[in-house]
């Protein structure tokens, strides 16, 4: 068909109909269609980048107030906001490095703990058939249906009941013992510590990790394990020496998914913590928005937002294929 019509078209039309598809033997993509599609893609890209450019531009501004007209490209590149955020992130006596360290500890700690406990349970649900299997599976997934904020009050009270107090001489560890008179001077309150927050965060992290890992483990073929069982290996050996190494990439993905979620979590730490030394980056970000709505220091907020978003962005972009397959396969198998 092309040969037939080519001779009748003038050079411009021929140019526009040039095949731009570099795929051999596939469908053709004439230039005009290519241009049209490129324009569409660029419009979509503009829509995606619009808020991102907005906040990037804000972060390079040296003023705390917003510009009166639309500015998507930075008119000035000033690192003042970044510098201020790193020097003195909040009015509280805590440095940026400490905030970073706390965020990191919390996210990694909760992610690892949840992962290690969950992989055992996920393996049991995935591989074994036992009487109470469906009942226990429902029991594990049911907490996912309850809003997390609903569980926060009992967790608050639970963590709060564990205190180490100085009763003017003797040490009392509640809930096992308490001071004879009053509450004593509280030296350690589990609720008011990163440890307590971490334990509370595991309560929602666990069901999600089990659900996710079970979906992954279901996709691993059972032949290797069956062969090992025939060879005489007991279930523990099969798990630790065969399944676990095989599942390592999926374990990593589950860990990173959890890490991303915990990195951004601010509601629970905000509820529990009152010591600035335990504050995390996401709490500080929330701290900046919580003040009188329009007196948010926008350039500093934007700078902090970008700093908090970077690890998440890098992790997600690097692992996007695995993350998506995990989320959707888990949903199908259920």
């Amino acid at each position: 068909m092309t040969a037939h019509t080519e001779s009748t078209k003038n050079p411009i039309v021929r140019f526009l109909n040039m095949n731009t598809s570099r795929e051999v033997g596939g469908r053709e993509l004439p230039l005009w269609r290519q241009i049209l599609l490129q324009v569409l893609c660029l419009v979509i890209a503009a829509e995606v980048l619009f808020p991102i450019m907005y906040i990037v531009t804000l972060s390079f501004s040296s003023r705390e107030t917003r510009p009166a007209s639309l500015e998507l490209i930075p008119t000035e590149i000033s690192f003042a906001a970044y510098k201020q955020v790193i020097d003195r992130p909040t009015a509280n006596p805590i440095t940026f490095i400490e905030l970073l360290r706390n965020s990191f500890l919390l996210s990694v700690g909760v992610g690892l703990a949840a992962l290690m406990i969950a992989v055992l349970a996920a393996y049991a649900f995935s591989r074994f058939k036992f009487k109470l299997r469906s009942v226990l599976m429902v029991l594990v997934f049911v907490p996912l249906l309850m809003p997390a904020i609903g569980l926060s009050t009992p967790l608050y009270l639970l963590m709060n009941s564990f205190r180490i107090a100085d009763c003017g001489g003797a040490i009392a560890i509640s809930p096992f013992a308490s001071c004879a008179v009053g509450l004593g001077k509280v030296m350690f309150n589990l609720r008011d510590s990163l440890l307590g927050v971490g334990i509370a965060m595991i309560s929602t992290a666990l069901p999600f990790a089990v659900w996710n890992l079970k979906g992954y483990l279901d996709t691993i073929p059972k032949e290797l394990e069956e062969a090992a069982a025939i060879d005489g290996a007991d279930p523990n050996q099969v798990f630790f020496q065969i399944v676990l190494p095989l599942a390592l990439p999926q374990l990593a993905v589950t860990f990173f998914l959890g890490f991303i979620g915990h990195w951004q979590e601010f509601a629970l730490p905000w509820l529990f913590l009152t010591q600035p030394e335990s504050y995390t980056l996401s709490m500080t970000l929330y701290n900046m928005t919580g003040q009188y709505a329009n007196s948010i220091p926008w350039n500093r907020f934007a700078a902090m937002a970008i700093i908090v978003a970077l690890p998440v962005a890098i992790t997600y972009i690097a692992l996007q294929k695995q993350i998506v397959s995990g989320l959707t396969s888990g949903g199908v198998k259920g």
Binding site: T65, N92, M288, G290, S295
Partner: protein, 388 residues
Amino acid sequence: MKNKFNLLISLILISAFILTACGGGSGSTATGEVTFWHAYGTGSAEEVALTAILEQAKEDMPNVTINVLQVPFNDIYNKYRTDVASGGGPDMFIAPNDSLGDDARAGLLADITELANGKLGDYGALAVDGMSVEGKLYGIPESLKAVALWYNKDLVATPPATTDELKALMEAGTPVSLSYGCYHHYGFFGSFGGKVFDDSWKVVADQGGVADAMSYLNDLYQISVANGWPKNDGDGLAPFTEGNMAIITNGNWAMGDYRKALGDKLGVAPLPAGPGGAATPLLGVDGFYFNPNSTNLESALEVALYLTGKDAQTAMMNEAGHVPANTTVEVTDPLIQGLLDAFETAYVRPQVPQLGNYWSNFCGTDQVFEAGVPAADWVAEATTNANK
């Protein structure tokens, strides 16, 4: 010879007195750790001034370690209440006396009547009253706050003294940022002769000026909407400090920020008076409140007295625009004097539980401003609901 010797002894004694008086710090009895919370915005004039004062406190009170936590204003009450109720909390926190009555009745604040006995000679009676509930003292007053009218002298030479003048100014197109809201516009009720409560704390808003005030405010609100002017103090901060707004109504906590931006161009006046009399904004007292769970109350009290003492309050006044509750502070700033004058006719915020009836029923002002419910009907309905 004897006379010279006596003179020498006297001189030595006098210098000793002077030295110890100047030393100051060595006489402080505060020890241990004192934790206190505040809600000043990061980087605001108040927060900067407080940090400087605390630096000085390290020298003046060397035996005590002061830990400070900043909590955003919209969360400080919640955080304090939950923490104290569950057995923890800071030794003290500084905040307006918005909910002093409720917190005191809920047992979340320590009664310091005995502890502070005899130490409050420097504070005005109005301020101490603002910290008391049913005769018992619950806080050390720090400063007075109420809504006033701030103006940019370059854009409007004389501020509007009456409600009619204000309305005319707005209709003529002078950009005005009025703060609408049950707290911010309370002062206008007095301008129209309206009272919310009678002497027995029954709500009597439907008898008299409150409906007129709401109707007037509604007119102004529509002008604000039509011109796209800010309708609350938060939105108005940037335009006013950048010189785009001639007038803004706000509490004097923002004076530090306004003065930093406008300098000498800043002026202050009372909210405009009206047909019913002078404006009666709610007068609140900021103060330090103490935690009944605290194990270091005496030291906390010392720290609070220091932070509300003459030197600290002079700094807060000059840098952050606080109107000090401490009467020994010398007022030289005309703005502060202007505020003190404006506060003369203010309505002292009551600490009775019935005040909650006002907040619960009279804060849905959007019904009048946005949904178009006539002011008189809305006030009547709110009054009936409040008196149920």
